[in-house]
C-alpha cells in the first residue's frame, strides 16, 4: 500500500467537499504527508514482515544472547537470543491491528449512539448520555483492569475493555456536533419535506459531523497503542512469546543497566508510530479549522 494510496483512503473517509477543494500546499499538507508516510511505513512493515525480517521472530539462539548490534543482528539479540529487529517488525502485526480494532469498534458504536442521542433528543438522549456519564465516572484503567480480571488477559479482552470505555468519547463528540448541525436550516428543510429519519440521519447529519470522530480516531490510535503496550508491559495484555512492543520493553527492563540498547527499538517504534498518527490527526483538524 503506497503512501499516496493510504492518504487518499483516509481522505475518502472525509467529506466530499473536502476532496473537491484544491489541496492546500504548505505546512498542513507537509504534516499530513509526513504522518501518512510514517503510518504507511509501519503498515508496510506489518504486511511484509516475513520478507523484511532477517530471522523468525521467536527463533531462539541460546549461544548468542544479548549480543548487542552486529552485522548478523542489526539490533542485537535479546535474553534468549531472538533477533530484536525481527521482533520489532513482527510486533507491528500485533500492535497495529489490535489498536485499530480497539478504535474502530468503539468509534462506530459511539458515533451511532451520539448521532441518535443528539438527533432525537429527549428521553433517548437522556438515557444514552447518562449511561455514558456512568462509564465516564469510573477511572479508565481501573475499569479496564477489572474487566480483564473478569474475562482473563489477552487481545480480545483488551479490545472489549477499550470498546466498553471508549465509545463514550465518540458519543459525546458526535452528539455535540449533531446538536449544532440539527438546528441548521437544511435539516429543518429535510424534515419539512417529509424525509424519513433514517435518511436525514445518514445523508444529511452524519456526513456533516463525521470529521470529528475521524480526527479523534487518529489520536485514539496513539492512546490505544500506548494502552496495549502498557497492559502488555504489566503482563496482562499480550503474553510471550508473541512479539509486542510493550512486552519487549518489559522483557528488556531487567537488563536496563547493562544492555540499555535493548529497550530502545520497541520504545522508538511506539514513539514514531504515535507521532505519525498524531501528525495525521493534527493535519486533519487544521483542515477543518480553516
Amino acid at each position: 500500500m503506497s503512501a499516496q494510496g493510504l492518504q487518499s483512503g483516509i481522505l475518502g473517509l472525509m467529506s466530499r467537499e473536502e476532496r473537491e477543494q484544491p489541496r492546500q500546499a504548505g505546512a498542513g499538507s507537509l504534516k499530513l504527508r509526513t504522518g501518512v508516510g510514517i503510518v504507511a511505513l509501519f503498515a508496510l512493515a506489518a504486511l511484509l514482515a516475513p520478507l523484511l525480517s532477517p530471522y523468525a521472530p521467536d527463533s531462539q539462539d541460546l549461544l548468542h544472547t544479548l549480543t548487542g548490534p552486529s552485522a548478523q543482528h542489526l539490533l542485537g539479540t535479546d535474553v534468549v537470543g531472538r533477533d530484536v529487529l525481527s521482533r520489532v517488525i513482527y510486533a507491528t502485526r500485533t500492535d497495529l491491528p489490535v489498536a485499530a480494532a480497539a478504535v474502530l469498534i468503539p468509534a462506530t458504536a459511539g458515533s451511532l449512539i451520539g448521532l441518535v442521542a443528539g438527533y432525537f433528543g429527549r428521553l433517548t438522549d437522556t438515557a444514552l448520555m447518562r449511561t455514558a456519564d456512568l462509564i465516564l465516572a469510573f477511572p479508565v484503567y481501573v475499569l479496564v483492569l477489572a474487566l480483564i480480571a473478569v474475562i482473563g488477559p489477552g487481545v480480545g479482552a483488551i479490545i472489549l475493555a477499550a470498546s466498553v470505555v471508549d465509545w463514550v468519547i465518540y458519543a459525546r463528540l458526535v452528539r455535540s456536533e449533531v446538536l449544532r448541525v440539527k438546528s441548521l436550516d437544511y435539516i429543518t428543510a429535510a424534515r419539512a419535506s417529509g424525509l424519513p429519519h433514517r435518511r436525514i440521519l445518514f445523508r444529511h447529519v452524519l456526513p456533516n459531523v463525521i470529521h470529528q470522530p475521524v480526527i479523534y480516531m487518529m489520536s485514539d490510535m496513539v492512546l490505544l497503542i500506548l494502552a496495549l503496550s502498557s497492559l502488555s508491559f504489566l503482563g496482562i495484555g499480550v503474553s510471550s512469546p508473541t512479539a509486542e512492543w510493550g512486552r519487549m520493553i518489559a522483557e528488556a527492563e531487567p537488563f536496563l543497566r547493562l544492555h540499555p540498547w535493548l529497550i530502545l527499538p520497541p520504545g522508538l517504534a511506539i514513539v514514531t508510530v504515535g507521532i505519525g498518527f498524531a501528525l495525521i490527526a493534527d493535519a486533519l483538524a487544521d483542515r477543518y479549522r480553516t
Binding site: 467537499e17 424534515r191 419535506s193 456526513p207 456533516n208
Partner: protein, 299 residues
C-alpha cells in the same frame, strides 16, 4: 405567541410582517410542525384543504424556504441530489427523477441546469442557492410554500428577481404562499393579503394595498413610518422603546406601552380582531376614532 390565526387561499400570497421577535418565524415552524424543543407546549390546528395537516403526512405537503442561503442547503450534497430527495418523497426515481430535477431548475430560472445539478452549494451564488432551495421545496409538489424571509440576505436586484419568481410560481402553479418578512416594502410587493404581527399576536390583517394605504392599527402606522425613504429627504422615524420579551407581555393590548395613541383602558383591552372593513380586521379597540395615515411625514 397566542391566538395567531390566518388563512391562505390557493394562488394567493399571504404576507406576515412585523419586527424581529414578533413570532413570525415561529408561526411558520408551528405550521409545519417543527417547533424547536425549547418552546413550551403549543396547541393549534393546521388545516390544509380542509383537512388536518401533520408534518409527516405524505398526501399533502408544504414546502419551506429559509432566510439564510448559507445554511439552507446541505454543504455536502450536490444540487441535483437534494432536489431528487424531494422527488423521492413523491415517488419519482431514476432517469425520470433526473428529468424532473432539470425541469425544476429550469422552472426556478437557473441557467445551464444540467451543469448545476452537479454543483455543490459553495459553487452557487446566494440567489442561485435560494432558487435551488425553492426547487427543492417544489420537488415534493406542495400545495403551500412557506417562505421565511427568503430575500432578506440577498442584494436588492436579486431580491426582486426572487420575488418575481415566487409571483410566477404562485400564478402558474396556483401555489399558496406564506411569506414572512420584516420588510414591509417586500411584503407590499408580493403579498395580496397581509397580517401584521407584534409580540406573538396578529394586530391587523387584510388586503395588502389597503392595510398599507390605510392602516387600522397604530402599530402598522408606526411600522410604515419607520420605513427608510430615499425620496423624503428626512430620516425615517422609528418606534420608541423596545419590543417586549416573551413571557413578560404587557397586559391588555401588548402594544400600548409604546403606542402614541394609548389611552388608560388600553391596558385592559381584550385581544379580539374586530372587522374594520371588507375582509379586514384590527385588534385596536380605538381603530374607529384614530385618524391613521399611511404616513409620509413630510407630505
Amino acid at each position: 405567541m397566542d391566538g395567531v390565526s390566518f388563512e391562505v387561499r390557493g394562488g394567493e400570497c399571504f404576507g406576515l410582517a412585523g419586527e424581529s421577535g414578533a413570532g413570525k418565524s415561529l408561526t411558520l415552524r408551528a405550521v409545519i410542525g417543527l417547533l424547536p424543543p425549547s418552546t413550551s407546549l403549543a396547541r393549534g390546528t393546521v388545516l390544509l384543504r380542509g383537512e388536518p395537516y401533520h408534518a409527516r403526512s405524505r398526501a399533502q405537503r408544504m414546502g419551506m424556504v429559509f432566510q439564510e442561503p448559507k445554511t439552507s442547503l446541505n454543504p455536502l450534497m450536490r444540487a441535483g441530489e437534494m432536489i431528487r430527495e424531494g422527488l423521492r418523497v413523491h415517488g419519482v426515481r431514476g432517469a425520470h427523477a433526473k428529468r424532473s430535477a432539470i425541469a425544476l431548475l429550469q422552472e426556478v430560472g437557473i441557467e445551464d441546469p444540467e451543469l448545476r445539478l452537479r454543483s455543490f452549494p459553495h459553487q452557487l451564488s446566494g440567489g442561485q442557492r435560494q432558487r435551488v432551495a425553492i426547487a427543492m421545496a417544489l420537488a415534493a409538489e406542495p400545495a403551500v410554500l412557506l417562505c421565511d424571509e427568503p430575500t432578506t440576505a440577498l442584494d436588492v436586484p436579486v431580491q426582486e428577481r426572487i420575488l418575481q419568481l415566487l409571483d410566477r410560481l404562485r400564478i402558474e402553479r396556483g401555489l399558496a404562499i406564506v411569506f414572512v418578512s420584516h420588510d414591509l416594502a417586500v411584503i407590499g410587493r408580493i403579498a395580496q393579503r397581509i397580517g401584521v404581527m407584534y409580540a406573538g399576536r396578529i394586530l391587523e390583517c387584510g388586503p395588502a394595498t389597503e392595510v398599507l394605504a390605510r392602516p387600522c392599527h397604530p402599530y402598522t402606522e408606526r411600522l410604515l413610518a419607520s420605513l427608510p425613504r430615499i425620496d423624503a429627504g428626512m430620516p425615517a422615524r422609528g418606534i420608541l422603546g423596545e419590543p417586549p420579551s416573551p413571557g413578560r407581555w404587557p397586559s391588555g393590548c401588548r402594544f400600548h406601552p409604546r403606542c402614541a395613541h394609548a389611552k388608560p383602558d388600553c391596558s385592559q383591552a381584550p385581544y379580539v380582531l374586530m372587522d374594520c372593513g371588507p375582509d379586514r380586521q384590527s385588534a385596536c379597540i380605538y381603530w374607529r376614532e384614530l385618524e391613521l395615515t399611511a404616513q409620509r411625514e413630510c407630505a
